[in-house]
């Protein structure tokens, strides 16, 4: 027998049998029942919309042709793959689940459907290995770190981000304690009202035809007293002192999507410009 196999066998000896099939079946049945209820509600809503539309249409007596929303063509852009990227257009599929602690989904809410985020990547960038939604400089061995790192983080938080009242944190210091509602406005207002976070005046933007708000947040210049500095969850922590986050909070068909460009005061100016160009090239497909 291969000696490594023998060593692994020894490690795995006397392991109990894990898992409970009955519980798994029960969970799947519960999900199915919930989907049925949601489907019934959707049908009822659709019927109401049709009735309302008919009434409005009859009242308006407007025979002019209405614009029809264009059908979405399937995307030809390839999926982002880890490692250096040739310049071109790429696709990343943002998926969300309701079992992502510490915040989960509010109530019984279903997770948002998968969302394709497409963008144009210029030369010199890579998908950070093992981080499918992070694009960093290709020639940097510590690409997100101070003093000159940079990263584009695609599609981060969804409807259930919450803020920490104290962003200077240590591991195991508890869950985010400031509840935030599901809309873009809820999130941006909460960040703006935060006692510690310092951000620029939020402004209206449109990304891929969808409305959103933009602001810049800067981590403190000295975060040496923090195990990590982390303003919200789900999210990530500041990658170094004075880390700058350009944040786009975008409303994509009712779901809040966050895109963050991450850099430092010492990052050469052309790099944040490229990050912003990448964000400007984003389109969404659900």
């Amino acid at each position: 027998m291969n000696p490594l196999r023998a060593a692994l066998d020894e490690m795995a000896a006397n392991i109990p049998v894990y898992g409970d099939l009955d519980r798994a079946i029960e969970q799947v049945e519960h999900e199915r029942r919930r989907r049925r209820v949601l489907a019934s509600l959707s049908v009822a809503a659709a019927v109401l919309l049709v009735i309302a539309g008919t009434l409005i249409g009859a009242r308006a007596l407007d025979s002019s042709s209405r614009p029809i929303a264009p059908l979405q063509e399937p995307s030809a852009a390839p999926l982002l793959v880890e490692g250096p990227l040739s310049p071109g257009r790429y696709r990343y599929v943002l998926t969300s689940s309701c079992d992502d602690p510490p915040t989960g989904c509010p109530g019984d809410a279903a997770p948002p459907p998968p969302l394709d985020i497409e963008l144009t990547v210029p030369a010199g960038w890579q998908q950070l290995p093992d981080y499918p939604n992070v694009i960093t400089l290709a020639d940097d061995r510590s690409p997100t770190e101070a003093p000159d790192g940079a990263a584009l983080v695609l599609g981060w938080t969804n409807s259930w981000v919450n803020l920490y009242s104290e962003p200077c944190r240590s591991k195991g210091a508890g869950d985010p304690d400031i509840a935030v509602g599901p809309s873009v406005k809820d999130f941006v207002d909460a960040v703006q009202a935060h006692d510690i976070l310092e951000i620029t005046q939020p402004s209206d933007v449109r990304i891929g035809g969808h409305p959103g708000r933009f602001f810049t947040l800067r981590a403190p210049a000295d975060i040496s007293g923090c195990e990590f500095w982390r303003p919200w969850d789900p999210g990530f922590y500041a990658q170094g002192p004075s880390n700058i986050w350009d944040v786009w909070a975008i409303d994509v068909d009712g779901f809040r999507v966050l895109v963050v460009a991450n850099y430092y005061p010492g990052t050469p100016a052309r790099i944040p410009a490229q990050l912003r160009e990448m964000v400007g090239s984003i389109t969404f497909r659900s």
Binding site: N2, P3, L4, R5, A6, A7, L8, D9, M11, A12, I15, P16, V17, Y18, G19, D20, L21, R23, A24, I25, Q27, V28, E31, S97, D100, D130, Y131, P132, N133, V134, S142, T144, E145, A146, A151, V153, K171, E227, F228, D233, P234, G235, F236, Y237, Q239, G240
Partner: protein
């Protein structure tokens, strides 16, 4: 036999092997329990939808991909940053100051490296079969195996001495 009975029979036959693989991947009982349970939920969903399924291959693919995905999801919330103090997950290892057991060394590998070793040397899959389970190229399996074995030798030289000569 009805489909639920087939599913129960499959789980009864393969549950122990899945549990062992889950433990080798995660290195602790609670995480292994969660991983197997998570795998069963996905398996049940799929089992109820389709009649044509190679359960052995499918369940292995779920187990390994869920393991790597869970790790990614966790890590994505904390971008890597070498300068940050990292008291709990410290990866540095001073071989002179400590000697790790094989188990301790395994959990210090990246999830993908661990998965490759378990697939290749515990499940006895070929490189191309392991590549298929993980959804990566054969070259990735080869390189990850090489790196993982080298890392094990650094981390646990005593434990690894017994299987010197094993290579990808």
């Amino acid at each position: 036999m009805d489909r639920e009975a087939e599913l129960r029979e499959f789980v009864a036959a393969r549950g122990a092997a899945l549990s062992r693989a889950a433990f080798l991947l995660t290195g602790n009982h609670q995480a292994a329990e969660d991983l197997v349970q998570d795998t069963y939920v996905v398996l049940v969903r799929r089992w109820q939808k389709t009649g044509a399924l190679d359960p052995e291959a499918y369940v292995r693919r779920i187990l390994f991909s869920r393991f790597i995905d869970n790790w990614r999801r966790q890590r994505l919330r904390e971008l890597p940053s070498a300068w940050l103090p990292d008291t709990e997950d410290r990866d540095e290892f001073d071989p002179a100051a400590d000697r790790l057991t094989l188990r301790e060394a395994l959990v210090r590998l990246t999830p993908r490296q661990r998965a490759v070793l378990v697939l290749r040397f515990y499940d006895d899959l070929t490189e191309s079969q392991a590549a298929e389970v993980l959804g990566v190229s054969v070259n990735t399996v080869k390189s990850q195996t090489r790196v993982a074995l080298r890392r094990l030798r650094e981390l646990a030289p005593d434990a690894v001495a017994s299987f010197e000569g094993v290579d990808s």
